[in-house]
Amino acid sequence: MVASGLSEPHLLAQIGAVARRSVIRTIRQRGLLVFPILFPLILFAINGSALSAATKIPGFPPVSYRAFLLAVPFMQGALFVAVTAGVDLARDIESGFFNRLAMTPVRPSAMLAGQMGGPLLVAAIQSVIYLIVGIATGVGIASGVGGALVLLALSVLIAFGFAGVGTLLALRFGSGEAVQAMFPLLFVTLFLSSSSLPRNLLKVSWFHFVATYNPASYLIEGIRSLVISGWDARALALGFGFALAILVLTIGLSSLAMKNRLQRS
């Protein structure tokens, strides 16, 4: 409902306005992006070399360890996107800017989707950077140029889902500190997966069990398949499937949390 004499903006226009603000904020705080982009690359450099002996384990795929590991920075980057999205929204809630938006005719779905604008821009940029660095360090993309584009799409989709996690935490707790405190837990999820070794080479039974039921394993394996296997329909289906499922779940829960947070009639 708008003031008399005005017409209600279209949903896309509302999303666009909120997203535009999110993107402006991201661009104007470029310095904050350095660490989230750099840290996964540092880990990639260190672990890619330090764990290269893993290729000698019987049963390890016949590829360089760096190629095997390239999927991981995309996932780590997605975690940082989750924190960024959550902290940004939490700051709006803490400062009262959220209430300012709530006073306008903006729809909750537009607020939610628009807030993701900046984090998704970051996800796109960092995915391109990781891919370029990977290729520059000698990793070949087995699925070719087309596969590289699909990889970028999957990576951004994963980041979108993780951004939903950050948003959900922000709406639930309303504080940037709480979002950041959850970050280690999200990192744990990444480690307890097939991030460092293929699932069939995870010897310790409980670890194997956790990695098998951890959606992060399938997200990583989806990206990894495009790098080391070519077109693996099963891995891609699982990767995209889990990415979409996480997205739907987190956005759905965020919408509920948004309704609770708004409390407005």
Binding site: S49, A53, A54
Partner: protein, 256 residues
């Protein structure tokens, strides 16, 4: 001397008291090492099947020593975060004004760091033992490992305290943490030095953290190697970082 001791005691007490009373600080500092132990020892255990991987006590013990020493290093780093927070909140100024011997402030923080690590190290050790880790080292050798850990904690704490005092803001966290992180992870973390190849082998070979880590692992599986060198490296590190911390304190005093 008495003033030094009283200031040291007061600052150390506050440091450990605040850590215990703040779950959001205490819990991650205990959980993270546990979680690294689980991830590395659990997730990478097949590394032990790589030809030329020799560690008598097994891969869990191999990773335990790394996590034990890493938690020691990061225990020192977290103390630096606390110092930085004290500056942001203004409490550090109060401390500087009221302490009759300001050197005691640094000593107090480092003791606080050691006590904090004592908690973490104990939990990690118990967890590793429950996971069935083999312990091959003798009593003296294990005490030697503890000594290595304490020295690592001291070096890292002095670095972190000095840096925090130079920068005097919580934003200093990344500056404090990153060098320690890079030095620690550019050592033979997942496999022994002989199994590293490429640029990381070259870097790790000259990384002082490698000597320390290898000495620790050697003490743990009763095949001590380069222990004296490790202690010399650590003592030198402590001397350099003590001077760094002292200069940091002087910088904070000048800033008022």
């Amino acid at each position: 001397m008495r003033r030094f001791a009283s200031v040291t005691r007061g600052v150390a007490w506050r440091s450990i008291h605040n850590t215990i009373k703040t779950p959001s600080v205490l819990v991650p500092s205990i959980l993270f090492p546990l979680f690294f132990l689980a991830a590395f020892a659990g997730g990478l255990s097949k590394i032990a099947q790589v030809p030329s991987f020799h560690y008598r006590a097994g891969y869990t013990a191999f990773q335990f020593v790394f996590v034990f020493l890493q938690s020691s290093a990061f225990g020192g780093v977290f103390t630096g975060f606390a110092v930085a927070r004290d500056f942001d909140s203004g409490f550090a100024r109060r401390l500087l004004l009221s302490a009759p011997n300001r050197g005691g402030i640094i000593a107090g923080y480092t003791i606080g760091a050691a006590l904090r690590w004592f908690l973490t190290g104990t939990v990690v050790t118990i967890a590793a033992l429950i996971a069935g880790m083999n312990v091959d080292g003798s009593g003296i050798q294990l005490i030697g490992l503890l000594g290595v850990g304490l020295m690592v904690n001291l070096v890292a704490a002095l670095w972190a305290i000095g840096t925090a005092m130079f920068l005097r803001t919580e934003q200093a966290g990344a500056v404090i943490q990153m060098p320690v992180f890079v030095i620690v992870f550019l050592a033979p973390v997942y496999v022994p030095l002989n199994l590293l190849t490429g640029w990381i082998h070259a870097v790790a070979k000259y990384n002082p953290a490698t000597v320390v880590l290898e000495a620790g692992r050697g003490l743990f599986d009763a095949s001590p190697v380069k222990v004296a060198l490790a202690f010399i490296v650590l003592a030198a590190g402590a001397a350099v970082m003590a001077a760094w911390a002292r200069r940091g304190l002087a910088s904070a005093e000048r800033a008022g």
